[in-house]
């Protein structure tokens, strides 16, 4: 019996000793308003404290023996907008290396992965900057600091390009959209935005371009943005295509000069996720001349088509890819855009003077767009774009093939009276788009009657109209599927023939010939 009582007393005493010791060591020790009076804390423990007054500042001293990634969690205090600041020795002086403040009252603060080298750090619990500072001596906060070994992840703070974590070809790196705000970010355009910067050393040249692919795996609740910057910190590409939780990517972006490039991962509207890491990966590839080389969003950086085809992708909403073709000046070419099943692509042709000449937007998603025939004089620009904003990357293939046309052929664009082709005896043409209108000018020396013979494209339908001198329609006939018709018309020194497409046939042409009539 005595033995039992003795055991109970021993256990009780042990519990009291342990619990009393824990309480003592896990409370802030006021005054701790200065660095020299900071309460010593350890990782893996919780500490309680009070922001008693509007001027109260609680300093905690954290000793880090080896490289560690720490998570700091500060519970909310009713009615108080508080903040965390982590200070460390930088260049011989104690400086803030991270400030965490979500600018809200009563809410907790957290940073998921602050990378710390061995050394002493001061963790400051203080009032936030937004609201009126006031004390709360009734409700305590809890400060929890946990540590772990770093894995393949960002090293916070990497809030500036010069502190960007290096990512290599074929590598992946994790990170957190944490904290919600970086109060040390004084960028006037994006103040307080939490930014994670990465850098990549890329070797490339004009004659040996490489393409870079960046993928950012999304996390719940965060609408992320992925950006690529040049060595001169010029924004090269941005991916902001998906909503919260969605992935972002920059693919096939062409790099033609060696240097250190920068990658920015950030979120919209201070959205955060302290628990789920994102993953950024990068791949570099030698550029294939048969592929587009982004950026090619304008005439000035149009990619040159040297073969018969080029493959590309509509990378984000509004993306447009420009190409320049000048392989056989004077020849006729056919342009075919093979769309990915999800892509409703548009192909537009511009003259070397950058004037829009033709556009094909005839079929829906996944179907080819064709410009059946076009004469290349001194080169053409070809633009590929999308009708609808694409939410993901949509590949396509642009094929340019030379075609031989016998006899006289229309010269596009001839879609208006001003652009009408002169017709003297015969001409052929294509229904270049679903709304194509081809104008032909007939200009006898005096009043004359003509017999007009026309045949429809083999698998298409067109309307043939004759007009007066001003282009007003006098007579219209519809002909389909290779049908041939003949009509007489009087032309008083000038008039037009108009071929309107009803059902396009991009493979077969229509034919017209005119001769004098009785």
């Amino acid at each position: 019996m005595f033995t039992v009582k003795k055991s109970i007393l021993f256990v009780s005493a042990l519990i009291m000793a342990v619990s009393c010791g824990k309480i003592q060591s896990n409370e802030e020790i006021e005054p701790n308003n200065t660095v020299s009076t900071a309460t010593i804390v350890e990782t893996g423990k919780e500490y309680t404290g009070f922001l008693d007054t509007e001027n109260d500042i609680d300093n905690y001293l954290l000793k880090i023996p080896e490289d560690q990634v720490i998570r700091i969690e500060l519970s909310g205090v009713k009615g108080i907008n508080h903040a965390i600041q982590v200070r460390g020795i930088v260049d011989g002086s104690l400086r803030a290396i991270k400030t965490v403040d979500d600018n809200r009252k009563s809410s907790p603060e957290e940073i998921a992965n602050l990378f710390l080298n061995p050394g002493d750090y001061i963790i400051v619990v203080t009032h936030g900057i937004r609201d009126v500072k006031k004390g709360n001596s009734e409700n305590s906060y809890t400060l929890r600091i946990t540590a772990r070994s770093p894995f393949n992840e960002e090293s916070e703070p990497n809030d500036l390009p010069e502190y960007g974590n290096i990512i290599g070809n074929g590598e992946s790196i994790a990170g957190y959209f944490s904290p919600s705000r970086n109060m040390l970010n004084e960028n006037s355009q994006w103040p307080y935005r939490e930014e994670d910067w990465f850098s990549a050393d890329i070797v490339a040249g004009d004659d040996a371009p490489v393409t870079v692919d960046l993928f950012l795996k999304g996390v719940g609740g965060v609408d992320s943005i992925l950006s690529l910057y040049s060595p001169e910190m010029k924004e090269l590409a941005v991916s902001d295509n998906t909503s919260a939780g969605g992935a972002e990517s920059i693919t096939g972006f062409g790099i033609k000069s060696t240097g250190r490039y920068y990658i920015l991962v950030t979120s919209k509207s201070f959205q955060y996720n302290h628990r789920e890491p994102y993953e950024l990966s990068m791949n570099l590839n030698l550029h294939d001349s048969g592929s587009e080389l982004e950026p090619n969003n304008g005439f000035d950086n149009a990619g040159r088509i040297t073969g018969n085809s080029v493959s590309g992708r509509i990378n984000q909403p509004g993306d447009q890819d420009f190409f320049f073709y000048n392989e056989n000046p004077g020849s006729n070419i056919r342009i075919r855009l093979q769309n990915d099943p999800g892509l409703d692509g548009v192909v537009t042709v511009f003259g070397s003077g950058r004037v829009k000449l033709l556009e094909a937007n005839n079929s829906g998603s996944g179907n080819d767009e064709i410009i059946p025939a076009f004469s290349v004089k001194d080169g053409v620009f070809i633009r590929v774009s999308s009708v609808q904003p694409s939410v993901s990357e949509m590949p396509y293939r642009l094929i340019v093939e030379q075609i031989i046309i016998d006899g006289k052929h229309e010269k596009e664009p001839n879609n208006s009276i001003k652009e009408a082709n002169t017709l003297k005896d015969e001409i052929s043409g294509f229904t270049s788009s679903k709304n194509d209108r081809d104008y032909f000018l007939i200009k006898p020396e005096a009043r004359a009657r003509y017999r007009i013979n026309a045949s429809a494209p083999k698998n298409g339908t067109v309307r043939l109209s004759t007009t007066d001198q001003m282009g007003y329609i006098i007579k219209t006939k519809t002909l389909s599927n290779g049908e041939t018709i003949s009509i007489n018309e009087l032309f008083d020194k000038k008039g037009y023939l108009i071929i309107e497409t009803v059902t396009p046939d991009f493979e077969n042409q229509y034919n017209i010939n005119i001769s004098g009539a009785e």
Binding site: P444, E445, D468, Y472, I474, D492, S515, G516, E518
Partner: protein, 147 residues
């Protein structure tokens, strides 16, 4: 009679050959060879706003034959043809420009020339000239002269 028809066809063929050799089309220099000339205009247009661009479709012997030149209603519009000597039925149908549609449309029957036909005797070696004066109500006066 049969010989006459053959001769007429031969002359007609020569005419066509002659026309086609000149750049493959008929030109105004042939106009003197026509033996029917129909001239139509409106005589009571008193407001330029109502003076529409127009022309007349002309059928001969119930076959579509061609149309006149195009001009304002107040202007003379001319149809020329070379017909075999015979009595021919010539009908006219007025078309006006609808600028909104960008095309010529047939004028409502209410306002078509009345009458819209005339029988013309084409004689060998002579040119029949028909002048049609219409009003905005469609009433028309036909005058035929022979030269």
């Amino acid at each position: 009679m049969r010989n006459g028809v053959t001769a007429a066809l031969l002359i007609f063929s020569l005419f066509i050959f002659d026309a086609c050799t000149k750049n493959g089309k008929l030109i105004s220099g042939n106009r003197g060879k026509y033996n029917l000339v129909v001239t139509l205009y409106d005589k009571d247009i008193d407001d330029p706003a109502n003076d529409r661009r127009s022309y007349y479709e002309v059928s001969v012997d119930k076959s579509e034959f061609g149309r006149t030149t195009i001009g304002l209603e107040s202007q003379k519009k001319v149809f020329e043809a070379s017909l075999t000597p015979d009595r021919h039925l010539v009908k006219v149908e007025k078309w006006i420009l609808d600028e909104f549609l960008g095309r010529y449309i047939k004028l409502n029957n209410l306002y078509q020339p009345k009458p819209n036909f005339i029988y013309v005797n084409i004689e060998e070696g002579k040119t029949s000239r028909v002048t049609v004066e219409s009003t905005k109500y469609g009433t028309s006066v036909y005058k035929v002269t022979k030269e």
